[in-house]
Protein backbone atom coordinates (compact mmCIF):
# COMPACT_ATOMS: atom_id res chain seq x y z
CA UNK A 1 0.00 0.00 0.00
CA UNK A 2 1.15 3.51 -0.80
CA UNK A 3 3.16 4.72 2.17
CA UNK A 4 1.97 8.33 2.32
CA UNK A 5 -1.63 7.34 1.81
CA UNK A 6 -1.24 4.71 4.50
CA UNK A 7 0.29 7.14 6.94
CA UNK A 8 -2.51 9.60 6.30
CA UNK A 9 -5.23 7.04 6.92
CA UNK A 10 -3.45 5.94 10.01
CA UNK A 11 -3.24 9.48 11.33
CA UNK A 12 -6.87 10.17 10.52
CA UNK A 13 -8.07 7.04 12.28
CA UNK A 14 -6.03 7.80 15.35
CA UNK A 15 -7.27 11.41 15.51
CA UNK A 16 -10.83 10.21 15.11
CA UNK A 17 -10.51 7.83 17.97
CA UNK A 18 -8.94 10.41 20.25
CA UNK A 19 -11.81 12.71 19.45
CA UNK A 20 -14.32 9.99 20.28
CA UNK A 21 -12.56 9.29 23.52
CA UNK A 22 -12.62 12.99 24.46
CA UNK A 23 -16.28 13.39 23.51
CA UNK A 24 -17.29 10.41 25.59
CA UNK A 25 -15.43 11.97 28.49
CA UNK A 26 -13.47 8.77 28.70
CA UNK A 27 -10.53 8.35 30.96
CA UNK A 28 -9.00 5.66 28.80
CA UNK A 29 -5.29 5.88 28.71
CA UNK A 30 -5.01 3.55 25.72
CA UNK A 31 -3.36 5.15 22.73
CA UNK A 32 -4.85 3.54 19.64
CA UNK A 33 -2.43 3.13 16.78
CA UNK A 34 -3.97 2.10 13.51
CA UNK A 35 -0.68 2.31 11.69
CA UNK A 36 -0.10 -1.30 12.54
CA UNK A 37 -3.37 -2.25 10.86
CA UNK A 38 -2.46 -0.33 7.76
CA UNK A 39 0.88 -2.08 7.69
CA UNK A 40 -0.77 -5.51 7.72
CA UNK A 41 -3.76 -4.60 5.67
CA UNK A 42 -2.92 -6.93 2.77
CA UNK A 43 -3.12 -9.89 5.12
CA UNK A 44 -6.56 -8.73 6.26
CA UNK A 45 -7.62 -8.28 2.66
CA UNK A 46 -6.46 -11.78 1.87
CA UNK A 47 -8.50 -13.03 4.82
CA UNK A 48 -11.53 -11.09 3.59
CA UNK A 49 -11.08 -12.70 0.19
CA UNK A 50 -11.10 -16.15 1.77
CA UNK A 51 -14.15 -15.22 3.82
CA UNK A 52 -16.02 -14.11 0.70
CA UNK A 53 -14.93 -17.20 -1.17
CA UNK A 54 -16.18 -19.45 1.63
CA UNK A 55 -19.42 -17.57 1.94
CA UNK A 56 -20.04 -17.71 -1.79
CA UNK A 57 -19.03 -21.35 -2.18
CA UNK A 58 -21.04 -22.64 0.74
CA UNK A 59 -24.08 -20.50 -0.13
CA UNK A 60 -24.13 -21.90 -3.66
CA UNK A 61 -23.46 -25.42 -2.39
CA UNK A 62 -26.13 -25.04 0.29
CA UNK A 63 -28.59 -23.70 -2.25
CA UNK A 64 -28.14 -26.68 -4.56
CA UNK A 65 -28.33 -29.08 -1.63
CA UNK A 66 -31.37 -27.25 -0.28
CA UNK A 67 -33.28 -27.39 -3.55
CA UNK A 68 -32.59 -31.12 -3.86
CA UNK A 69 -33.53 -31.88 -0.25
CA UNK A 70 -36.50 -29.53 -0.34
CA UNK A 71 -37.81 -31.29 -3.44
CA UNK A 72 -37.42 -34.66 -1.78
CA UNK A 73 -39.20 -33.37 1.32
CA UNK A 74 -42.18 -32.39 -0.82
CA UNK A 75 -42.58 -35.95 -2.00
CA UNK A 76 -45.56 -38.00 -0.90
CA UNK A 77 -43.34 -40.95 -0.12
CA UNK A 78 -42.39 -41.31 3.53
CA UNK A 79 -39.17 -43.15 2.76
CA UNK A 80 -37.98 -40.09 0.86
CA UNK A 81 -39.15 -37.35 3.20
CA UNK A 82 -38.06 -39.03 6.42
CA UNK A 83 -34.26 -39.08 6.00
CA UNK A 84 -34.16 -35.59 4.51
CA UNK A 85 -36.34 -34.25 7.28
CA UNK A 86 -34.00 -35.83 9.81
CA UNK A 87 -30.97 -34.20 8.18
CA UNK A 88 -32.64 -30.78 8.06
CA UNK A 89 -33.86 -30.88 11.64
CA UNK A 90 -30.53 -32.12 12.89
CA UNK A 91 -28.46 -29.43 11.22
CA UNK A 92 -30.89 -26.67 12.09
CA UNK A 93 -31.00 -27.62 15.72
CA UNK A 94 -27.30 -28.00 16.49
CA UNK A 95 -24.86 -25.07 16.64
CA UNK A 96 -22.73 -24.57 13.57
CA UNK A 97 -19.69 -24.26 15.81
CA UNK A 98 -20.30 -27.76 17.11
CA UNK A 99 -20.76 -29.08 13.58
CA UNK A 100 -17.50 -27.62 12.33
CA UNK A 101 -15.59 -28.85 15.35
CA UNK A 102 -17.22 -32.24 14.94
CA UNK A 103 -16.19 -32.58 11.30
CA UNK A 104 -12.68 -31.48 12.14
CA UNK A 105 -11.97 -33.36 15.37
CA UNK A 106 -14.60 -36.11 15.68
CA UNK A 107 -15.17 -37.35 12.14
CA UNK A 108 -11.50 -38.35 11.67
CA UNK A 109 -11.99 -40.87 14.48
CA UNK A 110 -14.55 -42.63 12.30
CA UNK A 111 -12.74 -42.21 9.01
CA UNK A 112 -9.27 -43.08 10.24
CA UNK A 113 -7.81 -40.01 8.54
CA UNK A 114 -8.27 -36.33 9.20
CA UNK A 115 -9.95 -33.80 6.97
CA UNK A 116 -8.07 -30.61 6.21
CA UNK A 117 -9.51 -27.61 8.04
CA UNK A 118 -10.88 -26.05 4.88
CA UNK A 119 -12.80 -29.21 4.05
CA UNK A 120 -14.16 -29.83 7.53
CA UNK A 121 -15.39 -26.27 7.83
CA UNK A 122 -16.62 -26.17 4.23
CA UNK A 123 -18.60 -29.34 4.86
CA UNK A 124 -20.10 -27.95 8.06
CA UNK A 125 -21.00 -24.63 6.47
CA UNK A 126 -22.50 -26.21 3.35
CA UNK A 127 -24.59 -28.76 5.22
CA UNK A 128 -25.76 -26.08 7.62
CA UNK A 129 -26.77 -23.74 4.80
CA UNK A 130 -28.32 -26.67 2.93
CA UNK A 131 -30.59 -27.48 5.84
CA UNK A 132 -31.91 -23.93 6.01
CA UNK A 133 -32.27 -23.69 2.24
CA UNK A 134 -34.23 -26.94 2.16
CA UNK A 135 -36.63 -25.53 4.71
CA UNK A 136 -36.91 -22.23 2.81
CA UNK A 137 -37.53 -24.05 -0.46
CA UNK A 138 -40.10 -26.45 0.96
CA UNK A 139 -41.86 -23.64 2.81
CA UNK A 140 -41.89 -21.44 -0.29
CA UNK A 141 -43.47 -24.11 -2.45
CA UNK A 142 -46.02 -25.04 0.18
CA UNK A 143 -46.99 -21.43 0.73
CA UNK A 144 -48.51 -21.25 -2.75
CA UNK A 145 -52.28 -21.37 -2.62
CA UNK A 146 -53.95 -24.70 -3.35
CA UNK A 147 -56.04 -22.97 -5.98
CA UNK A 148 -52.94 -22.33 -8.09
CA UNK A 149 -52.09 -26.03 -8.15
CA UNK A 150 -55.58 -27.09 -9.08
CA UNK A 151 -55.97 -24.37 -11.73
CA UNK A 152 -52.72 -25.50 -13.35
CA UNK A 153 -53.71 -29.17 -13.14
CA UNK A 154 -57.14 -28.41 -14.54
CA UNK A 155 -55.45 -26.87 -17.60
CA UNK A 156 -53.77 -30.23 -18.13
CA UNK A 157 -50.29 -29.33 -16.94
CA UNK A 158 -47.97 -32.08 -15.84
CA UNK A 159 -46.18 -31.77 -12.51
CA UNK A 160 -43.05 -30.41 -14.15
CA UNK A 161 -44.98 -27.92 -16.24
CA UNK A 162 -46.98 -26.57 -13.33
CA UNK A 163 -43.86 -26.31 -11.20
CA UNK A 164 -41.93 -24.45 -13.87
CA UNK A 165 -44.68 -22.17 -15.10
CA UNK A 166 -46.92 -21.57 -12.11
CA UNK A 167 -45.56 -22.60 -8.72
CA UNK A 168 -41.83 -21.82 -8.86
CA UNK A 169 -42.14 -18.31 -10.32
CA UNK A 170 -44.42 -17.37 -7.45
CA UNK A 171 -42.61 -19.34 -4.78
CA UNK A 172 -39.21 -17.94 -5.74
CA UNK A 173 -40.39 -14.43 -4.96
CA UNK A 174 -41.32 -15.56 -1.49
CA UNK A 175 -38.04 -17.42 -1.02
CA UNK A 176 -35.82 -14.43 -1.76
CA UNK A 177 -36.15 -12.60 1.59
CA UNK A 178 -35.46 -15.61 3.83
CA UNK A 179 -32.72 -16.75 1.49
CA UNK A 180 -30.89 -13.42 1.57
CA UNK A 181 -31.26 -13.35 5.35
CA UNK A 182 -29.71 -16.76 5.58
CA UNK A 183 -26.92 -15.76 3.19
CA UNK A 184 -26.04 -12.74 5.33
CA UNK A 185 -25.89 -15.00 8.36
CA UNK A 186 -23.77 -17.43 6.39
CA UNK A 187 -21.14 -14.84 5.64
CA UNK A 188 -20.98 -13.95 9.32
CA UNK A 189 -20.83 -17.63 10.18
CA UNK A 190 -17.70 -18.14 8.11
CA UNK A 191 -15.90 -16.40 11.01
CA UNK A 192 -16.22 -19.74 12.79
CA UNK A 193 -13.54 -21.10 10.48
CA UNK A 194 -11.23 -19.46 12.95
CA UNK A 195 -11.76 -22.26 15.48
CA UNK A 196 -10.23 -24.84 13.15
CA UNK A 197 -7.59 -22.41 11.90
CA UNK A 198 -9.16 -21.86 8.50
CA UNK A 199 -7.47 -18.82 7.00
CA UNK A 200 -10.39 -16.42 6.97
CA UNK A 201 -10.58 -12.78 7.96
CA UNK A 202 -11.12 -13.51 11.63
CA UNK A 203 -8.17 -15.90 11.69
CA UNK A 204 -5.80 -13.29 10.27
CA UNK A 205 -7.05 -10.74 12.77
CA UNK A 206 -6.34 -13.12 15.63
CA UNK A 207 -2.91 -13.98 14.26
CA UNK A 208 -1.93 -10.37 13.78
CA UNK A 209 -3.25 -9.50 17.21
CA UNK A 210 -1.07 -12.07 18.87
CA UNK A 211 1.92 -10.82 16.90
CA UNK A 212 1.39 -7.14 17.58
CA UNK A 213 -0.64 -7.07 20.83
CA UNK A 214 -3.11 -4.69 19.20
CA UNK A 215 -6.54 -6.36 19.66
CA UNK A 216 -8.39 -3.07 19.72
CA UNK A 217 -7.13 -1.95 16.32
CA UNK A 218 -7.46 -5.28 14.57
CA UNK A 219 -10.82 -6.39 15.89
CA UNK A 220 -12.30 -2.94 15.31
CA UNK A 221 -11.05 -3.02 11.74
CA UNK A 222 -12.33 -6.54 11.19
CA UNK A 223 -15.79 -5.63 12.47
CA UNK A 224 -15.83 -2.73 10.05
CA UNK A 225 -14.70 -4.94 7.20
CA UNK A 226 -17.55 -7.40 7.82
CA UNK A 227 -19.92 -4.47 7.89
CA UNK A 228 -18.59 -3.11 4.61
CA UNK A 229 -19.10 -6.50 2.98
CA UNK A 230 -22.59 -7.11 4.35
CA UNK A 231 -24.29 -3.75 4.38
CA UNK A 232 -24.28 -3.33 0.58
CA UNK A 233 -25.41 -6.94 0.28
CA UNK A 234 -28.48 -6.30 2.44
CA UNK A 235 -29.24 -3.13 0.47
CA UNK A 236 -28.98 -5.07 -2.76
CA UNK A 237 -31.31 -7.74 -1.38
CA UNK A 238 -33.86 -5.07 -0.47
CA UNK A 239 -33.75 -3.70 -3.99
CA UNK A 240 -34.13 -7.17 -5.45
CA UNK A 241 -37.12 -7.83 -3.22
CA UNK A 242 -38.80 -4.62 -4.26
CA UNK A 243 -38.22 -5.42 -7.91
CA UNK A 244 -39.76 -8.88 -7.90
CA UNK A 245 -42.64 -7.87 -5.66
CA UNK A 246 -45.89 -8.71 -7.41
Amino acid sequence: MDAIFGANICWLLSRGLHLLNDLAGGHGTYQADFCVVVKHFDALLRGAGITLLYAFGTIVGGLVLGVLCGTAMLSRHKFLTLPFNAYVQFFRCTPLLVQIVWFYYALPMLLGYSLPAWMASGLGLTLYMGAFCAEIFRGGIQSIDRGQWQAARALGMTYLQLMRRVILPQAMRRMIPPFTNQSVLQLKNTSLLYVVAGHDLMYYAAQLTSQTFRPFEFYTTVAMMYFVMLYPATKFAKRLEARVDI
Binding site: G147, Q150, A152, V166
Partner: protein
Protein backbone atom coordinates in the same frame (compact mmCIF):
# COMPACT_ATOMS: atom_id res chain seq x y z
CA UNK B 1 -82.75 -32.41 -28.98
CA UNK B 2 -83.92 -34.41 -31.98
CA UNK B 3 -82.21 -37.64 -31.03
CA UNK B 4 -83.55 -37.53 -27.50
CA UNK B 5 -85.66 -40.68 -27.73
CA UNK B 6 -83.15 -42.78 -29.63
CA UNK B 7 -80.82 -44.96 -27.59
CA UNK B 8 -77.85 -42.71 -26.86
CA UNK B 9 -75.12 -43.40 -29.36
CA UNK B 10 -71.78 -43.32 -27.61
CA UNK B 11 -70.72 -40.24 -29.52
CA UNK B 12 -73.80 -38.44 -28.33
CA UNK B 13 -72.76 -38.82 -24.71
CA UNK B 14 -70.03 -36.50 -23.49
CA UNK B 15 -69.77 -37.46 -19.84
CA UNK B 16 -70.83 -40.74 -18.31
CA UNK B 17 -70.31 -41.32 -14.63
CA UNK B 18 -71.22 -44.64 -13.12
CA UNK B 19 -71.63 -45.49 -9.44
CA UNK B 20 -68.99 -43.06 -8.27
CA UNK B 21 -67.75 -43.17 -4.68
CA UNK B 22 -65.41 -40.79 -2.90
CA UNK B 23 -64.20 -40.80 0.68
CA UNK B 24 -62.39 -38.11 2.66
CA UNK B 25 -60.95 -40.07 5.57
CA UNK B 26 -64.12 -41.29 7.31
CA UNK B 27 -66.48 -39.07 5.37
CA UNK B 28 -68.31 -40.78 2.52
CA UNK B 29 -68.64 -37.71 0.29
CA UNK B 30 -70.03 -39.37 -2.85
CA UNK B 31 -72.21 -42.43 -2.36
CA UNK B 32 -72.66 -43.97 -5.75
CA UNK B 33 -73.37 -41.12 -8.14
CA UNK B 34 -74.35 -41.94 -11.71
CA UNK B 35 -74.78 -39.25 -14.29
CA UNK B 36 -74.85 -38.78 -18.03
CA UNK B 37 -74.32 -35.52 -19.87
CA UNK B 38 -75.04 -35.40 -23.57
CA UNK B 39 -73.11 -33.43 -26.12
CA UNK B 40 -74.26 -29.81 -25.99
CA UNK B 41 -76.28 -30.32 -22.85
CA UNK B 42 -76.26 -27.83 -20.01
CA UNK B 43 -76.59 -29.67 -16.72
CA UNK B 44 -77.03 -27.83 -13.45
CA UNK B 45 -76.16 -29.38 -10.11
CA UNK B 46 -77.84 -27.93 -7.04
CA UNK B 47 -77.93 -28.96 -3.42
CA UNK B 48 -77.20 -27.84 0.13
CA UNK B 49 -73.69 -26.89 1.21
CA UNK B 50 -71.48 -29.90 1.80
CA UNK B 51 -73.62 -32.32 -0.22
CA UNK B 52 -70.73 -33.12 -2.56
CA UNK B 53 -71.26 -30.88 -5.59
CA UNK B 54 -67.67 -29.67 -5.77
CA UNK B 55 -66.42 -33.15 -5.05
CA UNK B 56 -68.43 -34.45 -8.01
CA UNK B 57 -66.96 -31.84 -10.37
CA UNK B 58 -63.46 -32.44 -9.05
CA UNK B 59 -63.90 -36.16 -9.63
CA UNK B 60 -65.00 -35.57 -13.20
CA UNK B 61 -61.64 -34.01 -14.11
CA UNK B 62 -59.85 -36.18 -11.56
CA UNK B 63 -58.55 -33.42 -9.33
CA UNK B 64 -59.77 -35.91 -6.74
CA UNK B 65 -59.27 -39.63 -7.03
CA UNK B 66 -62.57 -41.52 -6.73
CA UNK B 67 -62.56 -44.61 -4.56
CA UNK B 68 -64.73 -46.61 -6.92
CA UNK B 69 -66.78 -46.21 -10.07
CA UNK B 70 -66.20 -45.18 -13.65
CA UNK B 71 -65.57 -41.76 -15.11
CA UNK B 72 -65.82 -41.35 -18.86
CA UNK B 73 -65.36 -38.19 -20.87
CA UNK B 74 -65.47 -38.51 -24.63
CA UNK B 75 -63.58 -41.66 -25.58
CA UNK B 76 -61.59 -41.81 -22.36
CA UNK B 77 -62.99 -44.28 -19.85
CA UNK B 78 -61.29 -44.55 -16.48
CA UNK B 79 -62.21 -47.15 -13.88
CA UNK B 80 -61.63 -46.84 -10.17
CA UNK B 81 -61.78 -49.39 -7.41
CA UNK B 82 -59.75 -52.37 -6.26
CA UNK B 83 -57.07 -53.16 -8.79
CA UNK B 84 -57.44 -49.85 -10.60
CA UNK B 85 -54.97 -47.14 -9.89
CA UNK B 86 -55.09 -43.47 -10.75
CA UNK B 87 -53.68 -43.00 -14.27
CA UNK B 88 -50.10 -41.72 -14.47
CA UNK B 89 -49.36 -37.99 -14.60
CA UNK B 90 -49.08 -37.77 -18.37
CA UNK B 91 -52.31 -39.65 -19.05
CA UNK B 92 -54.11 -37.61 -16.43
CA UNK B 93 -52.84 -34.34 -17.88
CA UNK B 94 -53.95 -35.36 -21.35
CA UNK B 95 -57.37 -36.38 -20.03
CA UNK B 96 -57.83 -33.01 -18.34
CA UNK B 97 -57.10 -31.01 -21.49
CA UNK B 98 -60.55 -31.92 -22.79
CA UNK B 99 -62.23 -30.56 -19.67
CA UNK B 100 -62.23 -26.86 -18.79
CA UNK B 101 -62.87 -25.94 -15.19
CA UNK B 102 -63.68 -22.60 -13.60
CA UNK B 103 -63.43 -22.16 -9.84
CA UNK B 104 -65.14 -20.05 -7.24
CA UNK B 105 -61.95 -18.14 -6.43
CA UNK B 106 -60.89 -17.61 -10.10
CA UNK B 107 -57.37 -18.83 -9.31
CA UNK B 108 -55.78 -16.79 -12.07
CA UNK B 109 -51.99 -16.96 -12.17
CA UNK B 110 -51.03 -13.70 -10.41
CA UNK B 111 -47.65 -13.37 -12.09
CA UNK B 112 -49.16 -13.29 -15.56
CA UNK B 113 -51.26 -10.68 -17.31
CA UNK B 114 -54.80 -11.46 -18.41
CA UNK B 115 -53.73 -12.45 -21.89
CA UNK B 116 -50.76 -14.47 -20.62
CA UNK B 117 -53.17 -16.36 -18.37
CA UNK B 118 -55.27 -17.23 -21.38
CA UNK B 119 -52.26 -18.18 -23.52
CA UNK B 120 -50.67 -20.33 -20.85
CA UNK B 121 -52.63 -23.53 -21.52
CA UNK B 122 -52.29 -23.55 -25.31
CA UNK B 123 -48.58 -22.66 -25.21
CA UNK B 124 -47.38 -24.80 -22.31
CA UNK B 125 -49.73 -27.75 -22.53
CA UNK B 126 -50.59 -27.97 -26.20
CA UNK B 127 -47.31 -26.59 -27.53
CA UNK B 128 -49.05 -24.11 -29.82
CA UNK B 129 -46.86 -21.32 -31.13
CA UNK B 130 -47.05 -18.09 -29.13
CA UNK B 131 -48.25 -16.00 -32.03
CA UNK B 132 -51.11 -18.33 -32.75
CA UNK B 133 -51.97 -18.58 -29.04
CA UNK B 134 -51.90 -14.80 -28.81
CA UNK B 135 -54.46 -14.47 -31.58
CA UNK B 136 -56.67 -17.09 -29.97
CA UNK B 137 -56.37 -15.44 -26.55
CA UNK B 138 -57.29 -12.06 -28.00
CA UNK B 139 -60.40 -13.53 -29.59
CA UNK B 140 -61.42 -15.14 -26.33
CA UNK B 141 -60.85 -11.99 -24.28
CA UNK B 142 -62.97 -10.13 -26.80
CA UNK B 143 -65.65 -12.75 -26.45
CA UNK B 144 -65.80 -12.29 -22.67
CA UNK B 145 -65.74 -8.51 -23.15
CA UNK B 146 -62.25 -7.80 -21.84
CA UNK B 147 -60.28 -6.65 -24.87
CA UNK B 148 -59.12 -3.53 -23.05
CA UNK B 149 -57.84 -5.46 -20.05
CA UNK B 150 -55.51 -7.88 -21.80
CA UNK B 151 -52.38 -6.41 -20.22
CA UNK B 152 -53.78 -6.09 -16.71
CA UNK B 153 -52.45 -8.29 -13.97
CA UNK B 154 -55.13 -10.16 -12.01
CA UNK B 155 -54.69 -7.85 -9.03
CA UNK B 156 -55.86 -5.00 -11.25
CA UNK B 157 -59.06 -6.73 -12.32
CA UNK B 158 -62.41 -6.68 -10.56
CA UNK B 159 -63.79 -10.02 -9.39
CA UNK B 160 -66.16 -10.19 -12.33
CA UNK B 161 -63.39 -9.40 -14.80
CA UNK B 162 -61.05 -11.92 -13.20
CA UNK B 163 -63.69 -14.62 -13.43
CA UNK B 164 -64.30 -13.85 -17.10
CA UNK B 165 -60.56 -14.14 -17.75
CA UNK B 166 -60.65 -17.48 -15.94
CA UNK B 167 -63.43 -18.62 -18.25
CA UNK B 168 -61.41 -17.50 -21.27
CA UNK B 169 -58.38 -19.35 -19.89
CA UNK B 170 -60.37 -22.56 -19.69
CA UNK B 171 -61.91 -22.04 -23.14
CA UNK B 172 -58.46 -21.51 -24.67
CA UNK B 173 -57.81 -25.24 -24.33
CA UNK B 174 -60.84 -25.79 -26.56
CA UNK B 175 -62.24 -28.33 -24.15
CA UNK B 176 -65.17 -30.58 -24.97
CA UNK B 177 -66.78 -29.94 -21.60
CA UNK B 178 -66.84 -26.95 -19.26
CA UNK B 179 -67.25 -27.35 -15.51
CA UNK B 180 -68.31 -24.37 -13.40
CA UNK B 181 -68.08 -24.60 -9.62
CA UNK B 182 -70.04 -21.77 -7.98
CA UNK B 183 -68.24 -19.27 -10.16
CA UNK B 184 -70.31 -16.30 -8.98
CA UNK B 185 -70.35 -17.08 -5.25
CA UNK B 186 -67.29 -14.97 -4.47
CA UNK B 187 -68.50 -11.97 -6.45
CA UNK B 188 -70.16 -8.77 -5.34
CA UNK B 189 -73.83 -8.95 -6.37
CA UNK B 190 -73.48 -6.27 -9.03
CA UNK B 191 -70.72 -8.27 -10.76
CA UNK B 192 -72.62 -11.56 -10.95
CA UNK B 193 -74.54 -10.57 -14.07
CA UNK B 194 -71.50 -10.07 -16.32
CA UNK B 195 -70.22 -13.59 -15.55
CA UNK B 196 -73.62 -15.22 -15.96
CA UNK B 197 -73.92 -13.36 -19.26
CA UNK B 198 -70.80 -15.08 -20.57
CA UNK B 199 -72.05 -18.47 -19.39
CA UNK B 200 -75.41 -17.84 -21.02
CA UNK B 201 -73.67 -17.11 -24.29
CA UNK B 202 -71.64 -20.34 -24.04
CA UNK B 203 -74.80 -22.33 -23.39
CA UNK B 204 -76.44 -20.74 -26.42
CA UNK B 205 -73.47 -21.76 -28.56
CA UNK B 206 -74.03 -25.37 -27.62
CA UNK B 207 -71.15 -25.83 -25.17
CA UNK B 208 -71.46 -28.93 -23.02
CA UNK B 209 -71.58 -27.58 -19.48
CA UNK B 210 -71.92 -28.84 -15.93
CA UNK B 211 -72.75 -25.94 -13.64
CA UNK B 212 -72.83 -25.97 -9.86
CA UNK B 213 -74.62 -22.88 -8.65
CA UNK B 214 -76.94 -21.30 -6.12
CA UNK B 215 -78.35 -18.94 -8.78
CA UNK B 216 -81.74 -20.60 -9.15
CA UNK B 217 -83.15 -18.00 -11.53
CA UNK B 218 -80.19 -18.54 -13.83
CA UNK B 219 -80.61 -22.31 -13.56
CA UNK B 220 -84.27 -22.19 -14.50
CA UNK B 221 -83.40 -20.04 -17.49
CA UNK B 222 -80.42 -21.92 -18.88
CA UNK B 223 -80.54 -25.52 -17.65
CA UNK B 224 -81.46 -28.34 -19.99
CA UNK B 225 -81.56 -30.54 -16.93
CA UNK B 226 -81.05 -30.12 -13.19
CA UNK B 227 -79.87 -32.68 -10.67
CA UNK B 228 -80.40 -32.18 -6.97
CA UNK B 229 -77.80 -33.69 -4.67
CA UNK B 230 -78.08 -34.35 -0.99
CA UNK B 231 -75.61 -36.07 1.31
CA UNK B 232 -73.45 -37.41 -1.51
CA UNK B 233 -76.27 -38.73 -3.68
CA UNK B 234 -78.39 -37.52 -6.54
CA UNK B 235 -81.90 -37.63 -5.16
CA UNK B 236 -83.83 -36.00 -7.94
CA UNK B 237 -83.30 -34.99 -11.52
CA UNK B 238 -85.31 -33.62 -14.39
CA UNK B 239 -85.96 -30.53 -16.45
CA UNK B 240 -85.65 -27.16 -14.79
CA UNK B 241 -89.42 -26.86 -14.51
CA UNK B 242 -89.78 -30.35 -13.02
CA UNK B 243 -87.10 -29.90 -10.42
CA UNK B 244 -87.66 -26.28 -9.45
CA UNK B 245 -91.45 -26.06 -9.76
CA UNK B 246 -92.68 -29.58 -9.02
CA UNK B 247 -90.15 -31.00 -6.58
CA UNK B 248 -91.15 -34.48 -5.44
CA UNK B 249 -88.41 -35.33 -2.96
CA UNK B 250 -89.11 -33.77 0.47
CA UNK B 251 -85.47 -32.81 0.91
CA UNK B 252 -85.53 -30.93 -2.38
CA UNK B 253 -88.79 -29.29 -1.34
CA UNK B 254 -87.31 -28.04 1.90
CA UNK B 255 -84.08 -27.00 0.13
CA UNK B 256 -86.05 -24.88 -2.32
CA UNK B 257 -88.31 -23.51 0.38
CA UNK B 258 -85.33 -22.45 2.45
CA UNK B 259 -83.78 -21.03 -0.65
CA UNK B 260 -86.74 -18.88 -1.60
CA UNK B 261 -87.07 -17.82 1.98
CA UNK B 262 -83.42 -16.71 2.13
CA UNK B 263 -83.61 -14.94 -1.19
CA UNK B 264 -86.89 -13.28 -0.30
CA UNK B 265 -88.51 -14.69 -3.40
CA UNK B 266 -91.27 -17.17 -3.97
CA UNK B 267 -91.37 -19.82 -6.67
CA UNK B 268 -92.98 -18.21 -9.66
Amino acid sequence: MSAANLPAASDDVMIRITDLHKHYAKLHALKGVSLTVKRGEVLFVIGPSGCGKSTLLRCINLLEEPAAGTVAVGEDVIHFGPGHRMPSGGVLAKYRTQIGMVFQQFDLFPHMTAIQNVMEGPVTVKGIRRKQAFTLARELLKKVGLSEKENNYPRNLSGGQAQRVAIARALAMQPRVMLFDEVTSALDPELVGEVLGVMFQLAEEGTTMVVVTHEMAFASEVADRIVFMDAGQIVEEGTADDVLLQPRNPRLQSFLARFHHNMGTAPS
